[in-house]
Amino acid sequence: MASDFAGIVGALVDSGVEVIVIGGLAAQAHGAARLTQDADFLYRRTPENIDRLAAALRAHAPYLRGAPPGLPFRFDAATIQRGLNFTLTTALGDVDLLGEIVGGGNYEDVIEHSSKLSVFGRDVSVIDLPALIRAKRAAGRPKDLEAIAELEALLAERERSRER
């Protein structure tokens, strides 16, 4: 099933969940050409926001991605409080919810390096391109090398186009 990005973003933003779009979806928002299938978000770990996050996804059947079916998993506030990073399947598509990112920190750290972009009729916080590059570099995953190369080329192209 192709991810319903508009549905995922709408479910979170319309419920007032404080999230920052990171990962491949952020790269796409900045102009990257590489396709991504999952939606990665950095969420704020305040009790109020955790309540909103749990409520926002409740209707969309969140479940641990890759786990055998039938586990007694409930994506509620208590579960989110006990954990940090969650890789989920939902009825809207795959969603990764991270409490912090390597090379970036938590929500409060990254929001300083984010901008509000207008997408799907909503204003959504998206990590800035240089911060995204720093985070991907810091993660140090060989599979990211091509993506980082594209992001750095994108940054250079963007800056050159601004100078014209």
Binding site: M1, A2, S3, D4, F5, A6, L25, Q28, A29, H30, G31, A32, A33, L35, T36, Q37, L117, S118, V119, F120, V126, P130, I133, R134, R137, L145, E146, I148, A149, E150, E152, A153, L154, L155, A156, E157, R158, E159, R160, S161
Partner: protein, 69 residues
Amino acid sequence: MSQSPDDAAILRQFGLEPDPVIEAYKKDVDRTLLRQNLMRTPDERWKLLTAQLRLAEELRRAGAKARGE
């Protein structure tokens, strides 16, 4: 090395030191696609992504059907 000095200078403006391993990958980046995307709004980019994923899903489905799966 395919990278122009301008790329390195731009990276350094943002506190990013060019990495030789990443530079090796950079020569294969299709910059024409990036330039096209830069002319789009973020909303248009996400809508294009959604359309591309739907197309890929449709092609996967058609392939599976053709193989009798």
